[in-house]
Amino acid sequence: MRDKSTGYRIFSVINVGFMLCVLFICLYPFIYMLAISLSSARAVINGWVSFVPVEFTLDSYKMIISHTQFRIGYTNTIIYTIGGTLIALTLMCLMAYPLSKTFLRGRGILMKLVIFSMFFAGGMIPNLMLVIWLKLNNTIWAMLLPFAISQFNLIILINFFRSLPDSIEEAAVIDGMGYFGILAKIVVPLSMPAIATIALYTAVFFWNDWFYSLIYMNSNERYSVMVYLRNIVSGQSMAGAAAGTGSSERTTVYATLRATSIILTSLPIIILYPFLQRFFVKGLTVGSVKG
């Protein structure tokens, strides 16, 4: 028993030590970026920064926040993320609930359409032309509506709804509750793990998206902050790409500014994880098997 206990303790020490190493490796890029963003340009260019800020300054934060395009992009991203997630959750619940009912007529056809569109998407240009035809391009709706229903998330939700005991809904029906009431007051509250997981997936998608914002929008007033971030992070490699004529904007973006942009754009979504984590693991597995 004592031997086992000693062995267990040794294992625990090694295990914890190993995990701390893994944690450090995962966190180091972020810590490094944070340290760079809070250091002076002189300290960064001289290679003095590793874990902690050197010549602490908030100059790069002030500079980034003073960039009109950063502020506009940030506001847009918050709107797209909150609006897009709310719309997506609402529409997906409204679609998943009836599709979770085996007695629904035409359910098979609808499910086949969902699956078909998951595997055979229209492609970028047809989607863009559809958005233009609907006169959504360069409007907030071009970001909110096309991504309202993700087939993958919808299937997770359908399976989760199907796992809820029928007897609860039957009791509600006997008490005179309609389908919308059952969905809002019984199914949704009981499905919080799945909904929170999908909310996280959706919010991360909207937060990180730069491509659709780039394609569907035509002005700085509508681009998301990720378009700005991508441009500023790629500034250095662009300087190495110019192989043509003469004078151009070659001056590279300061490392401090790039680090600050990365920190400011990744922080909110990182903060979101701990709040949704308690739902997350359960939500990932619970909808996968019909019980």
Binding site: L128, R230, A239, G244, T245, S247, T251
Partner: protein, 515 residues
Amino acid sequence: MKRNRMLSILCCAALLAASLAGIVTATAEEAPLEIRLTYSDNPTLPFDPNWLAIKEAEKLTNTKLTFEIIPNTDWTEKIRAMLNSGTAPDALLYVNAATTYAEFGLNGALVPMNNYKEQWPNYYKLVEDWGMEADIQDRYLIDGNLYYMSELYDFPFFDAGPIIRTDLLEKFGLEVPTTFDELYEVAKVFKANYPDSYPITNLVDERVTYRMTMPSFGISLGVNASNGTHVTSYDYATGQTFAGATSELYREYLRYLAKCYAEGLYDPEFANASDVWATKLSTGAASITWAYYDQLGGLVANSTIDGISFGMFPPLEGPVGAYHQPKSRTGNGIAIPATTLERRGEEDVKAIMSALDKMFFSPEGSELWCLGVEGVTFTRDADGDVVFNDEILASPDGPYKAMQLLYGCGTAPLQLVWENAREMYKYDEYYGEVNAIVAEMGGIQSVPPAPKFTPDETEEVNFIKAPLVDMFNTWTNEFIRGTKSIETDWDTFVAEMEAAGINDLVDYYNIGLSK
């Protein structure tokens, strides 16, 4: 009778005056022509729709400009989506020969500009004045059409080159090197005195060094190869493409770099894309590089080394001469999408073209985008030389960057006429001197002519090129690092490249050049 005649004359005069007034009023109140344009946005230069240069250009041409801002990292992707979906604005700025131009021109997505020559009088005047007819002819595609009006350079700038620590040259009593062999000797002295350093380093990754040094060895290869093929080069004497990657010229180049690498003179991280170039130079970890002149200020300002100084020098002489990277006298320019013609009609398109010609290529338009407005951004002294206003002169960014940020002058997407002497006002005296030296020595070759390919040929060329590029990159790194021998493994490399079709690629290019 006399009274009647008098009355008639008065009436006629009144009518004439009224109609003239009407014309004048109509002209004065003529609604500005609305033009939507693309703007390629650079992260170091955020676009401002209220830039003085834009407002003045609108006044000059009685236009109302609206810009669709496209981040320059994704410019091609966005333009492709716009043209494919028919949502492109009236005119595309920043189109160039390497990207969407040929692809969309040949597919009918762009208006053939050669059909509207009379709308571009200022453009063709400059072409004639600067003797650029051949350069423009080279922009015609295989269907005999010209699809974009490129920017025009009277003479290409020497804006980047070999950069060396001048304080170290002085400290060790060394002359400024003029050849690659002399540079090697200088690097050895630097290494001997600072054994922990790797004197020669790259900006971003090896591509900048390659494109700025290879021409002195008679080749231009890699990502930024001047003919865009990555593995072939252009022979200026014969006007033919040759298999640069398997030539003895390249072998000689590799020998030089491998020697530097083996002796610790060349940065072991030469192939890694990184952003620590400035750190290495500012801290003394490196002392020789190839980069842009306007990057030197930042290196010195942030360094803690007392007396550190850098100099940019003319291209170094190699086996075939002293050449910087080849440069084109035409670059990015204006294209009109075919959808503009459908949407706005031919008369409007002609008006747009005439306005753009005046805006960018007329003497007053080109001066506006370069120097701004006389009396506002600059004045002229007794000799007629430009003197910038105090705000520009006091800017820590220097006149070139300050004019971009404050007024929108000198931004690459908007300035389309580059007159070397006029540009030099924005730089210090030394920059002008080194430019004059390089011009004198003929150190900048022109970019090789573009072969004329059909869309099918373009696809075939890309198909052949892809494996060659991978092979070239892998072998190059191994040769420089010494894991493959330039002497004993060279034949295997050549055989592999030939088996992968490098000679077929050369043939395609030479046939394309002969069309």
